[in-house]
């Protein structure tokens, strides 16, 4: 175990970097972070669109949600890898392919969380905001979403943690993220699969656990403000 780590730790962390492209755990973190940062605004937009008063907006988005939700992520990755280049006529790299697949897939799941958060808030807040003359979007931005997002936080974190784990599917299209690197190491060492994959598991656990704790910290900081009370 000791010489396994001594030999391969740098390869595990950054892949062939700086002699080759960035890979390993660093690439996984980068991919997951970008996916979260891009999927969240997309999820907000899609979630709000799902509740739009205009059918022309609501229906296509609802269709997208149902299609993506009814498909495994692996499928979405394949589409992005094989199908997207024929559509755009432009070959995207493995990293961008995986990023696109993750953003679309997670955006859709986040959209459903956002929708549930907005619906769960009840009609009263939206009605009060609208009766003051605010537009639908002003009401969403200043009144509904600030409250709904706080209620959504646990579900959002759940989805974010999934995203980190989902980056491992990049393995399938040869993206040198940490699972791919671990497999490479395992092929080279050959005799220590348990140790190699234990390290891989620990790496994912640390990332996911770290994010959960961070979110928990944000959540309890938000609680200092008095929680909304249901009027008697």
């Amino acid at each position: 175990m000791r010489d396994l780590i001594d030999t391969y730790w740098l390869y595990f962390l950054v892949g062939q970097y700086p002699k080759g492209p960035l890979g390993g755990l660093a690439l996984t973190v980068l991919l997951a972070a970008l996916a979260l940062l891009l999927a969240m605004p997309l999820g907000l937009a899609l979630g709000v669109a799902r509740l739009s008063l205009w059918r022309a907006v609501r229906w296509p988005v609802t269709a997208l949600v149902f299609v993506v939700r009814g498909t495994p992520l692996l499928m979405v990755v394949f589409w992005a890898y094989f199908f997207l280049p024929t559509l755009t006529g432009y070959k995207t790299g493995q990293f961008s392919t995986m990023l696109i697949a993750l953003v679309v897939f997670d955006g859709v799941y986040l959209a459903e969380i956002v929708r549930a958060g907005i619906v769960g808030l009840g009609r009263g807040q939206m009605e009060a905001a609208r009766s003051l003359g605010l537009t639908h979007f002003q009401a969403l931005r200043s009144v509904v979403l600030p409250q709904a997002l706080r209620h959504m936080l646990p579900s959002l974190v759940n989805q974010f943690v999934s995203t980190i784990k989902e980056t491992s599917l990049g393995y399938i299209i040869g993206l040198s993220e940490v699972s791919f690197i671990a497999t490479q190491i395992n092929t080279q060492v050959f005799t220590k699969p348990a140790q190699v994959y234990l390290c891989l598991g620990v790496a994912y656990f640390v990332l996911c656990f770290g994010l959960s704790r961070l979110a928990y910290g944000i959540e309890s900081r938000g609680k200092r403000r008095p929680p909304p009370r249901v009027p008697a």
Partner: protein, 249 residues
């Protein structure tokens, strides 16, 4: 100021408002009462288009407010609406509840809005609660903040949808006192309420509704002492003896 002309409204196959014709003058204080499900809340919610109507027209200052192309946000920003459940914004302080709309609508600068909000909170007797969050206030205080929030729109018309029904009895008085003050200052008000004392003291007229129709229009004294319509007679008898109405008493 307000004119209902043959207004009809359905929820699916259920008719909530039936042939409503009514005129309300500027400065009038009108109390709308009736049993639950009679359409009284629906009636005032059509006035700021929280509810659409399917027939007839509603005019405010001569303008058909349900006509297509009416700027619904502009309409609502000139009508104060007070909800039974207060619907204060719980993530904002009392002051911020009162400054949100005037600032977002570009009517006042943040400084002007804060100044106005302090004056309004003072008017409803809550100057010292400006920085409190709704959850830190009692029900009566929350409803008074909600009235201040509505007044921040400087509305010529205030609508009240059972403003005291969700309150503990000892808090009803403080809210009614604020409403009385508004009425005295000449505000045009339509109040859905069963508060007989309030109606008798400040209302110019009482409208009694049942089954989506306005069945009786009268002065408060006439309505509560000599109701004409049999349903109104039953209703007045029930609210005078609240415990006699339910089964088992």
């Amino acid at each position: 100021m307000i004119r209902f002309e043959g207004v009809n409204k359905w929820y699916g196959s259920y008719q909530a408002l039936v042939d409503i014709d009514e005129t309300i003058a500027k400065g009038e204080v009108v109390v709308v009462c009736g049993p639950s499900g009679s359409g009284k809340s629906t009636l005032i919610r059509t006035l700021n288009r929280l509810e659409p109507i399917q027939g007839g027209r509603i005019e405010i200052d001569g303008r058909d407010i349900h006509a297509p192309g009416t700027d619904v946000n502009a309409l609502r920003s000139r009508i104060g609406f007070v909800f039974q459940q207060f619907n204060l914004f719980p993530h904002l302080t009392a002051l911020q509840n009162c400054t949100l709309a005037p600032v977002q609508l570009g009517r006042l600068t943040p400084a002007q809005a804060a100044e106005q909000a302090r004056a309004l909170l003072d008017r409803v007797g809550l100057a010292n609660k400006a920085d409190a969050y709704p959850a830190e206030l009692s029900g009566g205080q929350q409803q008074r903040v909600a009235i201040a929030r509505a007044l921040a729109q400087q509305p010529p018309l205030m609508l009240f949808d059972e403003p005291t029904s969700a309150l503990d009895p000892e808090m009803v008085g403080e809210v009614l006192a604020v409403m009385r003050g508004l009425a005295r200052d000449g505000m045009t008000m339509i109040c859905v309420t069963h508060e007989m004392g309030f109606a008798r003291e400040v209302a110019d007229r009482v409208l009694f509704m049942d089954g989506g129709r306005i069945l009786e229009r009268a002065t408060p004294a006439d309505f509560f002492l000599h109701p004409q319509h049999p349903r109104a007679q039953q209703f007045v008898a029930d609210i005078r003896r609240p415990f006699a109405a339910g089964p088992g008493f």
